[in-house]
Amino acid sequence: MNGVGPTLAFYALAGVTLIAGGGVMASRNLLHAVLFLILSFVGIAGFFALLSAEFIAMAQVIIYVGAISVLVLFAVLLTPRAGRNNGETKMLAPAVLLAISLAAVFIFVITDTDWPTVATSPSLTASDLGEALLTTWVLPFELASVLLTAALVGAIMLVRTVEEEAEDALA
């Protein structure tokens, strides 16, 4: 991917995403952590755009930045202030250590490999995506729907309180 623009964009996005991720790691308050998370989601969306997957970028913004983050926010707000502490466990040090060494392994592998790459970006449109979803991957597509339903049902059951169940029993 040549040209100054994309390159600068890449580094900018990389900076944003990673720093935001670092923010998630660093922030002691859960709310701040959520905000950083959202920021890094946005960064990822930018990457998607940069990689000419506009539809995915949009979906990313909608679903992650929209849905999931809000969900997390709700969860955070549901739990009282005491529950919003985002401190680390005793295992911070080993966790960081392992994460770094894993990163080392990954990066070694990434740089070690000479990836079979195409010169020009394949032109992929949303319709291609939709077509793929409805032909080859129709089965996963259906499964995803079932999955969401099941998750929905389950989640509802899990959060229902005893008295709700009681009145449900009357019905």
Binding site: M1, V24, I56, T79, N85, D128, L129
Partner: protein, 104 residues
Amino acid sequence: MSVGIEEFLTVGALLFCLGLGVALSKRNAIGVLMGVELMLNAVNLTLITFSRFSVSDRPITGQTFVVFVITVAAAEAAVALALAVSVYRNRDTVDVDRINLLKS
């Protein structure tokens, strides 16, 4: 002046490990969940990178994959939060280092 596949993959890898670090170090269950979300996003980034760069007679595959990952991530998040809530009801906390009734 150019960036190639390696750079993108590197960013993905770093983000992934960052997410892992978060997931493994945060005390709050929701914090852990956020870490997981970061990891998934890193995976998505990697997938898109591949679908952009790598040689394939079906480049769209990567994007499709990402769609599903996002869906699953949403579902997982929902269930996770539900569980977190029910744990909170039982234990008045979502600190994973206090959620250790079951051990040894």
